[in-house]
Amino acid sequence: MSKGDKFLKWFFGGRGVVDERFKQELGKVATKTLMVFFGVQMIFLLSFGMYMFLAPIEDYETLAEILWLCEMLGTSVIFLGMEFVLIHRKVFVQELPEAKANKTIRHLKFEWFRRALIAGIAYWLLMAWFDMGKAGFFAQLFAPDTIRSAVVWFVLWGATMYGIQRWQLRKIKDDD
């Protein structure tokens, strides 16, 4: 598999084989997504621009935060929509015979537990570092709130990523 193919699989979190049909389907969906993205951006920026010019604005900081939040949410929704279309079209689906599929599922569980653990610890350290304020790093690190949010992140992120990957894995009978 070429580096470009590996990047495609990593970027979309796909499990299936990257073959020419995969790339063709991805190309079709990506073109439509780009059109939707462009349309949404134009409508949003035009309406936001009109509001900025016509309405009396005093607090530009809040306005910038709202703009950032809308952009973040809009981009995420469009990207997730693209992912769901690709999964629905079975582009990312990996089909395996039953015995191999069971082994892959076990590996997936272990792999996402490991990744979620690393992400959870990174989140815990970063949250403690960002929020230390007057309390100091270690006091914030062992504060119940910091630990709780890191555990929530570990569970939610790990379970979601495992769920998405598991959804793409199908068991088949290898007799056709």
């Binding site: 299936g16 084989v17 020419e20 049909r21 995969f22 089909e95 015979p97 088949i172 290898d174 007799d175």
Partner: protein, 65 residues
Amino acid sequence: MNHVREYRKAQKLSQLALADAIGVARQTINLIENDKYNPSLDLCLKLAWALHTDLNTLFWRDEDE
């Protein structure tokens, strides 16, 4: 209709085995066999080599078919 399915069965290969042999997904083989996907020339050649036949035998059809 192409002849991929009959040549694959003659070689006693499953769709998955053939897909693994030429480096594509099983769904791609299934779509090709059901005439729902037009493979590239490169993929046609790989199929012909894997099934020990030639492009004409696998894919040729008359104009009125």
